[in-house]
Amino acid sequence: MMSYGNGMTMVEKIFAARVEQDRLSPGDLVNVKVDLALGNDITAPVAIKEFKRFGLDRVFDPEKIVLVPDHFTPNKDIAAAEQALVLRRFAEDYGLKYYFEVGRMGIEHALLPEQGLVRPGMIIIGADSHTCTYGAIGAFATGVGSTDLAAAMASGEAWFKVPPTIRFEYSGHLPEWVSGKDLILLTIGDIGVDGARYRAMEFAGTAIDTLPMDGRLTMANMAIEAGGKCGYMQPDQITFDYLEGRVAQAYTSVYSDQDAVYEKRYTYDVSNLEPQVAFPPSPDNVYPVSEAKGVKLDQVVIGSCTNGRIDDLRAAASVIRGRKIKKGLRLLVIPATQQIYRQAMDEGLLADFIDAEAAVSTPTCGPCLGGHMGILARGERALATTNRNFVGRMGHPESEVFLSSPAVAAASAVAGTIVHPGEVLS
Protein backbone atom coordinates (compact mmCIF):
# COMPACT_ATOMS: atom_id res chain seq x y z
CA MET A 1 0.00 0.00 0.00
CA MET A 2 1.34 3.36 -1.03
CA SER A 3 -0.93 5.69 0.93
CA TYR A 4 -1.43 5.81 4.65
CA GLY A 5 -4.73 7.68 4.74
CA ASN A 6 -7.82 6.31 6.32
CA GLY A 7 -10.42 7.52 3.86
CA MET A 8 -12.31 5.71 1.17
CA THR A 9 -12.45 6.07 -2.58
CA MET A 10 -15.62 6.85 -4.54
CA VAL A 11 -16.19 3.20 -5.40
CA GLU A 12 -15.69 2.01 -1.81
CA LYS A 13 -18.16 4.65 -0.63
CA ILE A 14 -20.80 3.73 -3.24
CA PHE A 15 -20.68 0.11 -2.07
CA ALA A 16 -20.51 0.99 1.64
CA ALA A 17 -23.64 3.15 1.38
CA ARG A 18 -25.45 0.30 -0.35
CA VAL A 19 -24.67 -2.29 2.31
CA GLU A 20 -25.14 0.31 5.09
CA GLN A 21 -21.67 -0.06 6.49
CA ASP A 22 -19.37 2.74 7.57
CA ARG A 23 -16.39 1.22 5.95
CA LEU A 24 -15.46 -1.21 3.21
CA SER A 25 -12.00 -2.16 2.06
CA PRO A 26 -10.63 -3.70 -1.12
CA GLY A 27 -11.23 -7.44 -1.17
CA ASP A 28 -14.51 -7.30 0.78
CA LEU A 29 -17.28 -9.29 -0.89
CA VAL A 30 -20.65 -7.60 -1.17
CA ASN A 31 -24.00 -8.59 -2.54
CA VAL A 32 -25.87 -5.46 -3.64
CA LYS A 33 -28.99 -4.32 -5.43
CA VAL A 34 -28.16 -2.96 -8.85
CA ASP A 35 -29.80 0.16 -10.26
CA LEU A 36 -29.57 -0.92 -13.87
CA ALA A 37 -28.80 -4.17 -15.71
CA LEU A 38 -27.97 -4.06 -19.41
CA GLY A 39 -27.78 -6.60 -22.21
CA ASN A 40 -27.32 -6.56 -25.99
CA ASP A 41 -28.14 -8.80 -28.94
CA ILE A 42 -25.08 -10.99 -28.33
CA THR A 43 -25.17 -11.37 -24.56
CA ALA A 44 -28.87 -11.08 -23.72
CA PRO A 45 -29.98 -14.20 -25.63
CA VAL A 46 -27.65 -16.29 -23.43
CA ALA A 47 -28.91 -14.44 -20.35
CA ILE A 48 -32.55 -14.94 -21.32
CA LYS A 49 -31.93 -18.66 -21.77
CA GLU A 50 -30.45 -18.79 -18.26
CA PHE A 51 -33.20 -16.55 -16.85
CA LYS A 52 -35.80 -19.09 -18.00
CA ARG A 53 -34.23 -21.60 -15.60
CA PHE A 54 -35.59 -19.53 -12.71
CA GLY A 55 -39.12 -20.28 -13.86
CA LEU A 56 -40.27 -16.74 -12.99
CA ASP A 57 -43.15 -14.92 -14.65
CA ARG A 58 -41.65 -11.50 -13.88
CA VAL A 59 -38.33 -9.71 -13.79
CA PHE A 60 -37.18 -7.98 -10.59
CA ASP A 61 -38.03 -4.53 -11.97
CA PRO A 62 -39.12 -3.86 -15.57
CA GLU A 63 -37.78 -0.29 -15.32
CA LYS A 64 -34.25 -1.33 -14.39
CA ILE A 65 -33.41 -3.64 -17.25
CA VAL A 66 -32.16 -2.21 -20.51
CA LEU A 67 -31.93 -4.22 -23.74
CA VAL A 68 -30.23 -2.76 -26.80
CA PRO A 69 -29.80 -4.69 -30.04
CA ASP A 70 -26.73 -2.92 -31.42
CA HIS A 71 -24.03 -5.41 -32.38
CA PHE A 72 -25.41 -7.21 -35.43
CA THR A 73 -28.22 -4.75 -36.17
CA PRO A 74 -29.86 -3.80 -38.45
CA ASN A 75 -29.93 -7.59 -38.61
CA LYS A 76 -26.95 -8.75 -40.62
CA ASP A 77 -28.22 -12.25 -41.38
CA ILE A 78 -30.86 -14.77 -40.35
CA ALA A 79 -29.02 -15.90 -37.22
CA ALA A 80 -28.63 -12.29 -36.07
CA ALA A 81 -32.29 -11.64 -36.80
CA GLU A 82 -33.29 -14.57 -34.61
CA GLN A 83 -31.14 -13.28 -31.75
CA ALA A 84 -32.62 -9.78 -32.01
CA LEU A 85 -36.06 -11.38 -31.97
CA VAL A 86 -35.27 -13.06 -28.64
CA LEU A 87 -34.68 -9.61 -27.12
CA ARG A 88 -37.77 -8.04 -28.65
CA ARG A 89 -40.02 -10.88 -27.45
CA PHE A 90 -38.55 -10.83 -23.98
CA ALA A 91 -39.00 -7.06 -23.72
CA GLU A 92 -42.64 -7.42 -24.75
CA ASP A 93 -43.40 -10.43 -22.56
CA TYR A 94 -41.90 -8.91 -19.42
CA GLY A 95 -43.00 -5.33 -20.06
CA LEU A 96 -39.51 -3.83 -20.11
CA LYS A 97 -39.53 -0.05 -20.26
CA TYR A 98 -36.14 0.31 -21.87
CA TYR A 99 -35.91 -1.73 -25.03
CA PHE A 100 -34.49 0.31 -27.88
CA GLU A 101 -35.55 -0.79 -31.34
CA VAL A 102 -33.60 -0.08 -34.53
CA GLY A 103 -34.47 3.48 -35.50
CA ARG A 104 -34.58 4.57 -31.87
CA MET A 105 -31.45 2.88 -30.66
CA GLY A 106 -27.77 3.55 -30.61
CA ILE A 107 -24.65 1.81 -29.44
CA GLU A 108 -25.55 0.97 -25.85
CA HIS A 109 -22.77 2.87 -24.09
CA ALA A 110 -23.45 6.05 -26.04
CA LEU A 111 -27.20 5.59 -25.67
CA LEU A 112 -27.64 5.07 -21.92
CA PRO A 113 -25.91 8.28 -20.78
CA GLU A 114 -27.57 10.24 -23.59
CA GLN A 115 -31.02 8.99 -22.55
CA GLY A 116 -30.41 10.06 -18.96
CA LEU A 117 -30.38 6.50 -17.64
CA VAL A 118 -27.04 6.97 -15.87
CA ARG A 119 -26.73 9.08 -12.70
CA PRO A 120 -23.89 9.63 -10.25
CA GLY A 121 -23.75 7.11 -7.41
CA MET A 122 -25.57 4.35 -9.30
CA ILE A 123 -24.45 0.72 -9.42
CA ILE A 124 -24.78 -0.57 -12.98
CA ILE A 125 -23.93 -3.92 -14.47
CA GLY A 126 -23.98 -4.72 -18.15
CA ALA A 127 -23.36 -7.90 -20.04
CA ASP A 128 -20.86 -6.03 -22.15
CA SER A 129 -17.30 -5.27 -21.16
CA HIS A 130 -17.52 -1.57 -22.04
CA THR A 131 -20.21 -0.96 -19.43
CA CYS A 132 -17.36 0.74 -17.55
CA THR A 133 -18.09 3.79 -19.76
CA TYR A 134 -20.65 5.10 -17.25
CA GLY A 135 -17.95 5.75 -14.67
CA ALA A 136 -17.44 9.06 -16.50
CA ILE A 137 -20.67 10.20 -14.83
CA GLY A 138 -19.58 9.15 -11.35
CA ALA A 139 -21.43 5.82 -11.28
CA PHE A 140 -19.95 2.44 -10.44
CA ALA A 141 -20.43 0.50 -13.65
CA THR A 142 -18.83 -2.74 -14.74
CA GLY A 143 -19.07 -5.44 -17.35
CA VAL A 144 -20.31 -8.88 -16.37
CA GLY A 145 -21.32 -12.03 -18.21
CA SER A 146 -24.67 -13.28 -19.38
CA THR A 147 -25.25 -15.48 -16.33
CA ASP A 148 -24.71 -12.49 -14.06
CA LEU A 149 -27.26 -10.59 -16.12
CA ALA A 150 -29.72 -13.47 -15.85
CA ALA A 151 -29.32 -13.58 -12.07
CA ALA A 152 -29.72 -9.79 -11.82
CA MET A 153 -32.85 -9.82 -13.99
CA ALA A 154 -34.32 -12.35 -11.57
CA SER A 155 -33.10 -11.03 -8.20
CA GLY A 156 -31.98 -7.46 -8.84
CA GLU A 157 -28.70 -8.32 -7.19
CA ALA A 158 -25.09 -8.96 -8.09
CA TRP A 159 -22.00 -9.93 -6.10
CA PHE A 160 -18.79 -7.94 -6.19
CA LYS A 161 -15.39 -7.94 -4.64
CA VAL A 162 -14.59 -4.34 -3.70
CA PRO A 163 -11.66 -3.43 -5.97
CA PRO A 164 -8.49 -1.60 -4.96
CA THR A 165 -8.29 1.80 -6.67
CA ILE A 166 -5.46 3.24 -8.74
CA ARG A 167 -5.37 7.01 -9.20
CA PHE A 168 -4.32 8.50 -12.54
CA GLU A 169 -3.52 12.20 -12.54
CA TYR A 170 -3.11 14.18 -15.73
CA SER A 171 -1.56 17.57 -15.12
CA GLY A 172 -1.19 20.46 -17.53
CA HIS A 173 -3.55 21.21 -20.40
CA LEU A 174 -4.17 19.28 -23.57
CA PRO A 175 -2.53 20.65 -26.74
CA GLU A 176 -4.60 21.14 -29.87
CA TRP A 177 -5.71 17.85 -31.50
CA VAL A 178 -5.08 15.90 -28.32
CA SER A 179 -8.17 14.33 -26.75
CA GLY A 180 -9.48 11.94 -24.12
CA LYS A 181 -8.66 9.08 -26.50
CA ASP A 182 -5.02 10.06 -26.49
CA LEU A 183 -4.94 10.20 -22.68
CA ILE A 184 -6.39 6.74 -22.31
CA LEU A 185 -4.19 5.24 -25.05
CA LEU A 186 -1.15 6.80 -23.34
CA THR A 187 -2.25 5.24 -20.05
CA ILE A 188 -2.90 1.76 -21.45
CA GLY A 189 0.39 1.92 -23.34
CA ASP A 190 2.10 2.76 -20.07
CA ILE A 191 0.52 0.22 -17.72
CA GLY A 192 -0.35 -2.57 -20.20
CA VAL A 193 -3.50 -4.56 -20.91
CA ASP A 194 -3.48 -6.03 -17.42
CA GLY A 195 -2.04 -2.99 -15.63
CA ALA A 196 -5.32 -2.32 -13.83
CA ARG A 197 -6.66 -5.88 -13.69
CA TYR A 198 -9.42 -6.14 -11.04
CA ARG A 199 -8.78 -2.46 -10.15
CA ALA A 200 -10.88 0.68 -10.21
CA MET A 201 -9.21 3.49 -12.18
CA GLU A 202 -9.79 7.00 -10.85
CA PHE A 203 -9.07 9.69 -13.46
CA ALA A 204 -8.27 13.17 -12.18
CA GLY A 205 -6.05 16.23 -12.65
CA THR A 206 -6.23 19.58 -14.41
CA ALA A 207 -6.52 18.02 -17.87
CA ILE A 208 -9.56 16.04 -16.68
CA ASP A 209 -11.12 19.06 -14.98
CA THR A 210 -11.51 20.73 -18.37
CA LEU A 211 -12.17 17.60 -20.44
CA PRO A 212 -15.69 17.66 -21.96
CA MET A 213 -18.07 14.83 -21.10
CA ASP A 214 -17.63 13.07 -24.46
CA GLY A 215 -13.88 12.83 -23.86
CA ARG A 216 -14.46 11.53 -20.33
CA LEU A 217 -16.81 8.85 -21.64
CA THR A 218 -14.09 7.81 -24.11
CA MET A 219 -11.57 7.41 -21.29
CA ALA A 220 -13.81 5.48 -18.91
CA ASN A 221 -14.90 3.32 -21.86
CA MET A 222 -11.37 1.98 -22.32
CA ALA A 223 -10.67 1.19 -18.64
CA ILE A 224 -11.37 -2.44 -19.56
CA GLU A 225 -8.54 -2.34 -22.10
CA ALA A 226 -6.20 -1.97 -19.13
CA GLY A 227 -8.03 -4.81 -17.38
CA GLY A 228 -9.88 -2.34 -15.12
CA LYS A 229 -13.07 -3.28 -13.33
CA CYS A 230 -14.25 0.29 -13.72
CA GLY A 231 -12.88 3.71 -14.61
CA TYR A 232 -14.37 6.90 -13.29
CA MET A 233 -14.31 10.66 -12.92
CA GLN A 234 -15.87 12.30 -9.88
CA PRO A 235 -18.87 14.47 -10.69
CA ASP A 236 -18.24 18.19 -11.23
CA GLN A 237 -19.87 21.09 -13.06
CA ILE A 238 -19.25 19.45 -16.45
CA THR A 239 -21.11 16.38 -15.20
CA PHE A 240 -24.00 18.43 -13.80
CA ASP A 241 -24.32 20.41 -17.04
CA TYR A 242 -24.42 17.15 -19.00
CA LEU A 243 -27.14 15.73 -16.74
CA GLU A 244 -29.23 18.90 -16.90
CA GLY A 245 -32.28 18.22 -19.01
CA ARG A 246 -31.51 14.49 -19.26
CA VAL A 247 -32.06 13.31 -15.72
CA ALA A 248 -35.22 14.15 -13.79
CA GLN A 249 -34.60 12.05 -10.68
CA ALA A 250 -32.59 13.30 -7.74
CA TYR A 251 -29.13 11.80 -7.34
CA THR A 252 -26.32 11.91 -4.83
CA SER A 253 -22.80 12.44 -6.07
CA VAL A 254 -20.13 10.48 -4.26
CA TYR A 255 -16.53 11.64 -3.89
CA SER A 256 -13.28 10.02 -2.81
CA ASP A 257 -12.07 11.25 0.57
CA GLN A 258 -9.05 13.58 0.61
CA ASP A 259 -7.15 10.85 2.46
CA ALA A 260 -8.51 7.94 0.42
CA VAL A 261 -6.24 4.93 0.19
CA TYR A 262 -5.01 4.23 -3.33
CA GLU A 263 -3.10 1.14 -4.25
CA LYS A 264 -0.95 3.13 -6.64
CA ARG A 265 -0.73 6.55 -8.26
CA TYR A 266 0.39 7.48 -11.75
CA THR A 267 0.95 11.05 -12.89
CA TYR A 268 1.35 12.31 -16.42
CA ASP A 269 2.17 15.84 -17.56
CA VAL A 270 0.23 16.09 -20.79
CA SER A 271 1.03 19.64 -21.91
CA ASN A 272 3.28 18.41 -24.70
CA LEU A 273 1.49 15.18 -25.47
CA GLU A 274 1.24 14.08 -29.09
CA PRO A 275 -1.83 12.25 -30.40
CA GLN A 276 -1.35 8.53 -29.72
CA VAL A 277 -1.79 5.47 -31.93
CA ALA A 278 -2.13 1.83 -30.83
CA PHE A 279 -0.48 -0.59 -33.25
CA PRO A 280 -1.83 -4.11 -33.78
CA PRO A 281 -2.42 -6.52 -32.19
CA SER A 282 -3.05 -4.97 -28.79
CA PRO A 283 -4.39 -1.71 -27.34
CA ASP A 284 -1.27 -1.36 -25.19
CA ASN A 285 1.05 -1.30 -28.20
CA VAL A 286 0.99 2.50 -28.21
CA TYR A 287 3.24 5.07 -29.94
CA PRO A 288 3.02 8.81 -30.60
CA VAL A 289 1.48 9.54 -33.99
CA SER A 290 4.84 10.74 -35.34
CA GLU A 291 6.12 7.17 -35.04
CA ALA A 292 3.12 5.83 -36.95
CA LYS A 293 3.55 8.33 -39.76
CA GLY A 294 3.34 6.84 -43.21
CA VAL A 295 1.51 3.61 -42.32
CA LYS A 296 -0.64 2.97 -45.38
CA LEU A 297 -4.36 2.38 -44.88
CA ASP A 298 -7.20 0.65 -46.75
CA GLN A 299 -10.02 1.65 -44.43
CA VAL A 300 -10.74 4.21 -41.72
CA VAL A 301 -13.61 3.78 -39.26
CA ILE A 302 -14.94 6.66 -37.16
CA GLY A 303 -17.54 5.50 -34.67
CA SER A 304 -18.16 2.99 -31.84
CA CYS A 305 -18.98 3.35 -28.14
CA THR A 306 -15.51 4.82 -27.70
CA ASN A 307 -15.60 7.63 -30.26
CA GLY A 308 -18.92 7.88 -32.06
CA ARG A 309 -20.29 10.85 -30.10
CA ILE A 310 -21.01 14.35 -31.34
CA ASP A 311 -17.69 15.86 -30.22
CA ASP A 312 -15.92 13.04 -32.07
CA LEU A 313 -17.83 13.71 -35.28
CA ARG A 314 -17.21 17.44 -34.91
CA ALA A 315 -13.46 16.88 -34.52
CA ALA A 316 -13.37 14.56 -37.54
CA ALA A 317 -15.51 16.86 -39.68
CA SER A 318 -13.35 19.88 -38.83
CA VAL A 319 -10.39 18.08 -40.39
CA ILE A 320 -12.21 16.67 -43.39
CA ARG A 321 -14.39 19.66 -44.33
CA GLY A 322 -13.73 20.70 -47.91
CA ARG A 323 -11.32 17.82 -48.55
CA LYS A 324 -11.63 14.44 -50.25
CA ILE A 325 -10.47 11.19 -48.77
CA LYS A 326 -7.58 9.44 -50.48
CA LYS A 327 -8.46 7.50 -53.62
CA GLY A 328 -8.52 3.76 -52.93
CA LEU A 329 -9.32 4.22 -49.26
CA ARG A 330 -12.73 3.69 -47.63
CA LEU A 331 -13.93 5.93 -44.83
CA LEU A 332 -16.87 4.71 -42.73
CA VAL A 333 -18.54 7.15 -40.36
CA ILE A 334 -20.99 5.70 -37.86
CA PRO A 335 -22.76 8.10 -35.49
CA ALA A 336 -23.30 6.16 -32.26
CA THR A 337 -26.98 6.99 -31.69
CA GLN A 338 -29.97 8.29 -33.61
CA GLN A 339 -29.79 11.56 -31.67
CA ILE A 340 -26.12 12.03 -32.54
CA TYR A 341 -26.91 11.15 -36.15
CA ARG A 342 -29.66 13.77 -36.23
CA GLN A 343 -27.50 16.40 -34.57
CA ALA A 344 -24.63 15.71 -36.96
CA MET A 345 -27.08 16.19 -39.78
CA ASP A 346 -28.34 19.50 -38.35
CA GLU A 347 -24.80 20.75 -37.91
CA GLY A 348 -23.90 19.84 -41.49
CA LEU A 349 -21.29 17.30 -40.40
CA LEU A 350 -22.81 14.46 -42.40
CA ALA A 351 -22.63 16.63 -45.51
CA ASP A 352 -18.94 17.21 -44.79
CA PHE A 353 -18.34 13.47 -44.63
CA ILE A 354 -20.43 12.61 -47.67
CA ASP A 355 -18.83 15.39 -49.72
CA ALA A 356 -15.47 13.92 -48.77
CA GLU A 357 -16.75 10.60 -50.20
CA ALA A 358 -17.20 8.78 -46.91
CA ALA A 359 -19.90 6.19 -46.30
CA VAL A 360 -22.18 7.24 -43.43
CA SER A 361 -24.12 4.51 -41.64
CA THR A 362 -27.02 4.17 -39.23
CA PRO A 363 -25.87 3.49 -35.63
CA THR A 364 -24.39 -0.01 -35.15
CA CYS A 365 -21.35 -1.67 -33.59
CA GLY A 366 -20.87 -3.19 -37.04
CA PRO A 367 -17.19 -3.23 -37.99
CA CYS A 368 -15.90 -2.55 -34.45
CA LEU A 369 -16.14 -6.24 -33.59
CA GLY A 370 -15.83 -7.54 -37.14
CA GLY A 371 -19.58 -8.09 -37.21
CA HIS A 372 -20.69 -6.49 -40.45
CA MET A 373 -20.65 -3.17 -42.33
CA GLY A 374 -16.95 -2.95 -43.03
CA ILE A 375 -15.14 -6.26 -42.61
CA LEU A 376 -11.47 -6.35 -43.62
CA ALA A 377 -10.03 -8.73 -46.21
CA ARG A 378 -6.78 -10.66 -45.78
CA GLY A 379 -3.86 -8.26 -45.62
CA GLU A 380 -5.98 -5.11 -45.32
CA ARG A 381 -5.15 -2.44 -42.80
CA ALA A 382 -7.53 -0.14 -40.97
CA LEU A 383 -7.28 2.80 -38.62
CA ALA A 384 -10.26 2.95 -36.29
CA THR A 385 -11.49 5.10 -33.42
CA THR A 386 -12.68 1.92 -31.70
CA ASN A 387 -11.11 0.28 -28.64
CA ARG A 388 -9.67 -3.10 -29.62
CA ASN A 389 -7.23 -4.17 -32.28
CA PHE A 390 -6.77 -7.84 -31.44
CA VAL A 391 -5.97 -10.37 -34.17
CA GLY A 392 -9.01 -10.71 -36.45
CA ARG A 393 -11.03 -8.12 -34.52
CA MET A 394 -12.30 -6.38 -37.66
CA GLY A 395 -12.27 -9.26 -40.09
CA HIS A 396 -9.68 -11.62 -41.56
CA PRO A 397 -7.12 -12.90 -39.04
CA GLU A 398 -4.41 -11.50 -41.31
CA SER A 399 -5.89 -8.00 -41.40
CA GLU A 400 -4.61 -5.27 -39.09
CA VAL A 401 -6.25 -2.58 -36.96
CA PHE A 402 -4.63 0.58 -35.60
CA LEU A 403 -6.45 2.72 -33.03
CA SER A 404 -6.55 6.51 -32.74
CA SER A 405 -8.67 9.56 -32.00
CA PRO A 406 -11.28 10.80 -34.51
CA ALA A 407 -9.10 13.76 -35.54
CA VAL A 408 -6.15 11.53 -36.41
CA ALA A 409 -8.47 9.07 -38.14
CA ALA A 410 -10.02 11.80 -40.30
CA ALA A 411 -6.66 13.30 -41.21
CA SER A 412 -5.31 9.87 -42.10
CA ALA A 413 -8.32 9.17 -44.30
CA VAL A 414 -7.42 12.28 -46.30
CA ALA A 415 -3.72 11.44 -46.46
CA GLY A 416 -4.17 7.69 -47.06
CA THR A 417 -1.52 7.09 -44.42
CA ILE A 418 -1.43 7.72 -40.68
CA VAL A 419 -0.72 11.38 -40.07
CA HIS A 420 -1.04 14.18 -37.48
CA PRO A 421 -4.14 16.33 -38.17
CA GLY A 422 -1.98 19.46 -38.13
CA GLU A 423 -0.17 18.25 -41.25
CA VAL A 424 -3.35 17.83 -43.26
CA LEU A 425 -4.63 21.25 -42.24
CA SER A 426 -1.46 23.18 -42.95
Binding site: T43, T147, A151
Partner: protein
Protein backbone atom coordinates in the same frame (compact mmCIF):
# COMPACT_ATOMS: atom_id res chain seq x y z
CA UNK B 1 -12.90 -32.75 -7.13
CA UNK B 2 -9.95 -34.25 -8.98
CA UNK B 3 -9.36 -33.89 -12.72
CA UNK B 4 -6.74 -35.35 -14.96
CA UNK B 5 -5.96 -34.48 -18.55
CA UNK B 6 -3.55 -33.77 -21.35
CA UNK B 7 -2.43 -30.16 -21.60
CA UNK B 8 -2.37 -27.46 -24.28
CA UNK B 9 -0.24 -24.35 -23.83
CA UNK B 10 -1.16 -20.74 -24.53
CA UNK B 11 0.73 -17.53 -23.78
CA UNK B 12 -0.11 -14.22 -22.10
CA UNK B 13 -3.14 -12.00 -22.79
CA UNK B 14 -5.17 -14.53 -24.76
CA UNK B 15 -8.22 -12.38 -25.56
CA UNK B 16 -11.81 -13.44 -26.01
CA UNK B 17 -11.67 -12.62 -29.74
CA UNK B 18 -8.89 -15.21 -30.01
CA UNK B 19 -10.86 -17.74 -27.96
CA UNK B 20 -13.95 -17.32 -30.10
CA UNK B 21 -14.11 -14.74 -32.90
CA UNK B 22 -17.13 -12.41 -33.07
CA UNK B 23 -18.18 -13.84 -36.43
CA UNK B 24 -19.37 -16.97 -34.60
CA UNK B 25 -21.37 -15.16 -31.93
CA UNK B 26 -24.70 -15.57 -33.65
CA UNK B 27 -25.07 -18.91 -31.89
CA UNK B 28 -25.07 -19.78 -28.19
CA UNK B 29 -24.67 -23.54 -28.73
CA UNK B 30 -21.50 -24.66 -26.89
CA UNK B 31 -20.67 -27.45 -29.38
CA UNK B 32 -21.03 -25.16 -32.40
CA UNK B 33 -18.84 -22.57 -30.70
CA UNK B 34 -16.30 -25.26 -29.81
CA UNK B 35 -15.74 -26.01 -33.50
CA UNK B 36 -14.05 -22.58 -33.76
CA UNK B 37 -12.20 -22.52 -30.45
CA UNK B 38 -8.89 -20.60 -30.74
CA UNK B 39 -9.27 -20.77 -34.53
CA UNK B 40 -7.57 -17.44 -35.33
CA UNK B 41 -4.44 -18.14 -33.26
CA UNK B 42 -4.22 -21.96 -33.55
CA UNK B 43 -6.32 -23.07 -36.55
CA UNK B 44 -5.80 -26.80 -35.96
CA UNK B 45 -6.86 -26.62 -32.31
CA UNK B 46 -10.53 -27.65 -32.66
CA UNK B 47 -9.33 -30.85 -34.40
CA UNK B 48 -6.69 -31.64 -31.79
CA UNK B 49 -8.55 -31.09 -28.57
CA UNK B 50 -10.08 -34.09 -26.81
CA UNK B 51 -12.49 -34.54 -23.98
CA UNK B 52 -10.84 -33.92 -20.64
CA UNK B 53 -7.90 -31.86 -21.96
CA UNK B 54 -6.59 -28.96 -19.89
CA UNK B 55 -5.67 -25.47 -21.10
CA UNK B 56 -2.56 -24.00 -19.46
CA UNK B 57 -1.99 -20.29 -20.10
CA UNK B 58 -0.01 -17.26 -18.99
CA UNK B 59 -1.18 -13.94 -17.59
CA UNK B 60 -4.55 -12.24 -18.14
CA UNK B 61 -6.25 -15.17 -19.89
CA UNK B 62 -9.65 -14.19 -21.32
CA UNK B 63 -9.11 -10.44 -21.55
CA UNK B 64 -11.31 -8.35 -23.81
CA UNK B 65 -15.03 -8.71 -24.20
CA UNK B 66 -17.59 -10.04 -21.74
CA UNK B 67 -18.80 -12.74 -24.13
CA UNK B 68 -19.76 -15.79 -22.11
CA UNK B 69 -19.38 -17.60 -25.42
CA UNK B 70 -15.65 -17.80 -24.62
CA UNK B 71 -15.91 -20.08 -21.55
CA UNK B 72 -18.90 -21.79 -23.22
CA UNK B 73 -16.76 -22.64 -26.25
CA UNK B 74 -14.02 -23.99 -23.99
CA UNK B 75 -16.51 -26.07 -22.02
CA UNK B 76 -18.21 -27.18 -25.25
CA UNK B 77 -14.89 -28.52 -26.56
CA UNK B 78 -14.66 -30.81 -23.55
CA UNK B 79 -11.84 -28.91 -21.85
CA UNK B 80 -12.01 -29.98 -18.22
CA UNK B 81 -10.30 -26.96 -16.70
CA UNK B 82 -8.17 -23.90 -17.41
CA UNK B 83 -5.04 -23.12 -15.42
CA UNK B 84 -3.49 -19.68 -15.89
CA UNK B 85 -1.08 -17.40 -14.07
CA UNK B 86 -3.94 -14.92 -13.94
CA UNK B 87 -7.35 -14.39 -15.53
CA UNK B 88 -9.13 -11.28 -16.78
CA UNK B 89 -11.90 -10.54 -14.32
CA UNK B 90 -15.01 -10.95 -16.46
CA UNK B 91 -13.72 -14.24 -17.84
CA UNK B 92 -13.00 -15.44 -14.30
CA UNK B 93 -16.49 -14.47 -13.19
CA UNK B 94 -18.16 -16.04 -16.22
CA UNK B 95 -16.30 -19.32 -15.85
CA UNK B 96 -17.33 -19.71 -12.24
CA UNK B 97 -20.88 -18.65 -13.04
CA UNK B 98 -21.23 -21.36 -15.70
CA UNK B 99 -19.30 -24.01 -13.78
CA UNK B 100 -16.08 -24.18 -15.81
CA UNK B 101 -13.34 -24.99 -13.28
CA UNK B 102 -10.44 -22.56 -13.46
CA UNK B 103 -7.37 -22.17 -11.32
CA UNK B 104 -4.83 -19.41 -10.84
CA UNK B 105 -1.33 -20.78 -10.49
CA UNK B 106 1.59 -18.41 -10.32
CA UNK B 107 4.19 -21.08 -11.06
CA UNK B 108 5.76 -21.35 -14.50
CA UNK B 109 4.16 -24.22 -16.41
CA UNK B 110 5.22 -23.00 -19.85
CA UNK B 111 7.96 -25.63 -20.12
CA UNK B 112 5.47 -28.50 -20.26
CA UNK B 113 4.94 -30.36 -23.54
CA UNK B 114 1.68 -29.46 -25.25
CA UNK B 115 -0.45 -32.37 -26.41
CA UNK B 116 1.68 -34.85 -24.42
CA UNK B 117 2.12 -34.01 -20.75
CA UNK B 118 -0.64 -34.81 -18.30
CA UNK B 119 -1.65 -32.91 -15.21
CA UNK B 120 -3.68 -34.06 -12.24
CA UNK B 121 -5.56 -31.23 -10.54
CA UNK B 122 -6.90 -31.48 -7.00
CA UNK B 123 -9.33 -28.60 -6.50
CA UNK B 124 -9.83 -29.21 -2.80
CA UNK B 125 -6.13 -28.82 -2.06
CA UNK B 126 -5.31 -26.52 -4.96
CA UNK B 127 -2.50 -28.84 -6.06
CA UNK B 128 -1.43 -29.57 -9.62
CA UNK B 129 0.68 -32.68 -10.25
CA UNK B 130 2.71 -33.23 -13.38
CA UNK B 131 2.20 -36.96 -13.99
CA UNK B 132 5.33 -37.58 -16.07
CA UNK B 133 7.72 -36.18 -13.44
CA UNK B 134 5.61 -36.29 -10.29
CA UNK B 135 6.41 -32.63 -9.69
CA UNK B 136 3.78 -30.74 -7.73
CA UNK B 137 2.67 -27.13 -8.19
CA UNK B 138 0.50 -25.06 -5.87
CA UNK B 139 -2.47 -23.02 -7.10
CA UNK B 140 -4.53 -20.39 -5.30
CA UNK B 141 -7.54 -21.98 -3.57
CA UNK B 142 -11.01 -20.54 -4.23
CA UNK B 143 -12.42 -18.08 -1.68
CA UNK B 144 -15.26 -19.72 0.36
CA UNK B 145 -17.97 -17.66 -1.36
CA UNK B 146 -16.95 -19.00 -4.75
CA UNK B 147 -16.68 -22.53 -3.42
CA UNK B 148 -20.29 -22.18 -2.41
CA UNK B 149 -21.23 -20.89 -5.87
CA UNK B 150 -19.53 -23.88 -7.48
CA UNK B 151 -20.88 -26.43 -5.02
CA UNK B 152 -24.40 -25.16 -5.72
CA UNK B 153 -23.79 -25.70 -9.45
CA UNK B 154 -23.25 -22.12 -10.57
CA UNK B 155 -24.81 -18.71 -10.11
CA UNK B 156 -28.31 -19.51 -11.37
CA UNK B 157 -28.74 -22.32 -8.84
CA UNK B 158 -27.22 -20.19 -6.11
CA UNK B 159 -29.57 -17.25 -6.70
CA UNK B 160 -32.52 -19.58 -7.18
CA UNK B 161 -31.89 -21.01 -3.75
CA UNK B 162 -31.69 -17.49 -2.31
CA UNK B 163 -34.93 -16.42 -4.00
CA UNK B 164 -36.66 -19.51 -2.68
CA UNK B 165 -35.36 -18.61 0.74
CA UNK B 166 -33.34 -21.72 1.43
Amino acid sequence: MILQGRIWLFGDNIDTDAIIAARYLSTTEPRELAAHLMEDIKPDFPGLVQNGDIIVAGNNFGCGSSREHAPLAIKGAGISCVIARSFARIFYRNSINIGLPILECDEDLSGLRAGEDQLKVNFDLGTITHLQSGREYQAAPFPPFMQELISRGGLVEYVKARLEGC
